[in-house]
């Protein structure tokens, strides 16, 4: 299909290399309920280096945090619009770089 979908597959292959300790049921980032995403929130669907953000069929932006590398890009991009809630994972959880 679209090139966005193709690259989303590729980023999953990339993330597959990494080690994570997922804090099941406790995502550290949350997209706040919204009808229509701002331009900033929408841009996360291509700006997030882990491809965590996707638009659902109603046009809203959703996040799956499992592949998150905790870089903070999404937090900074939406700081002004306040559309996401961002915290670091609990101590010990999240990405575990072997090389960094």
């Amino acid at each position: 299909m679209s090139s966005v979908q193709e690259s989303a597959m590729r980023v999953e292959e990339k993330l597959y290399q990494n080690r994570y300790l997922v804090d099941a049921g406790r995502p550290h980032i949350r997209v706040l309920p919204h009808d229509k995403p701002s331009k900033a929130l929408l841009s996360l669907t291509h700006t997030c280096p882990a491809g965590c953000y996707e638009q659902n069929e109603r046009g809203q932006v959703e996040i799956t945090t499992d592949g998150c590398m905790e870089c903070g890009t999404c937090r900074i991009v939406t700081a002004k619009t306040g559309e996401i809630e961002w915290n670091y994972p609990r101590g010990g959880f999240g990405v575990l770089y072997k090389f960094g």
């Binding site: 841009s43 280096p49 590398m69 900074i76 991009v77 609990r90 990405v95 770089y97 090389f99 960094g100």
Partner: protein, 434 residues
Amino acid sequence: MSDEHYDVIVVGAGPSGNAAAYTMAKEGLKVLQLERGEYPGSKNVQGAILYANALEQIIPDFREDAPLERHVIEQRMWTMDDASHVGMHYRSDDFNEEKPNRYTIIRAQFDKWFSRKVRDAGAVLLCETTVTELLRDSNGRVIGVRTDRNAGKVFADVVILAEGVNGLVGQRSGLRKEVAPDSVALAVKEMHFLPREVIESRFNLKGDEGVVIEAMGTITKGMTGTGFLYTNQESISVGIGCIVSDFADNETTPYDLLEAFKNHPSIKPLLADAECKEYASHLIPEGGYNSIPELVGDGWIVVGDAGQFVNAVHREGSNLAMTTGRIAAETVVWLKRRRDEMSKANLTEYTRRLEQTFVMKDMKKYRKIPGYLHNNKHVFTLYPKLFTNAAQSWFRVDGVDKRSKEKEIMGSFRKSRSVLGLVGDAFKLAKAWR
């Protein structure tokens, strides 16, 4: 851990936090260091190049046991268009010295080593512990931190915030403003493994010699940014980074940009047959001098990336981190010896000392560069094409006489940027560089 009182709490176990904790522990201070990762380095990403001088000031004999990859004997600076690059290379046997100047390193391994030194010096390290907020007394003075470990509180005379570029503690406590999307770069990077003999023959190296490539041009698709490729012992670090607001304004994804860079005809053969074992991403503070936040207050000091200490022009950061960490620590030790309190007025000695070092001098020198690059995007698109086309025209022998070739090259510059534009670009760059 609730009733314990320390001389100092260090938030973070990256280069700045480790430099600070080591320096203070060695001087006998009671140091607690808090790190949210499972082990120091597990959350940290860097290219990575280690600048020996900054570490030598802290651990003079680090070469004896630090996990160093290769010492850099050759620097390649590339300007790239879609099919080619023009380069300035500097390679010297002088870099094969007894105490080399720069090394490639693998950060997770290096940070573990540095952290071992910190603990050997007597600091207490708690990993898997995320600091959630600063604790203050009724006068607003910082007296400790709260962590997510059993909601534990821990107290100290002073808190050193070495929490990195995405430092939530200081930012949410109102010590500094939010990082602006146009003053921070997002970099993605991969680790590609190859046998060391392959790396050595591919890059014309012997023993532990190493090469670094820094690249700019159409590889960033009009965004402000650079690519890099560094040789390690048995791996190659390859990555690319651009300013976050540029990524937000463009449709390009960071991983597609990295794929395109890896597939560039000048890069692809260098990575052939390698096995990728990790994909990482991190922010880099690139706002320069004008985005340095307030660095001290009553009971707190900021060091490293949290203070925006990166010299983006020279790709230096970890050395600024270690140096700010060391100087903050020396200031705390000095105040402690004098039995002075850790007030804002007294801690300002840290910024006074920083002013005397390369850290602040370099930050000041390049204070106008971020703005220049932000407002002159054609530096990343137009000039690389002009340079590579000029080189091709010059080197291709095709029956056209040399004077006509010169005319064609000069004409291409004038046509695409006008004489005034060319002079203006040079003048603005020179002014920003000064």
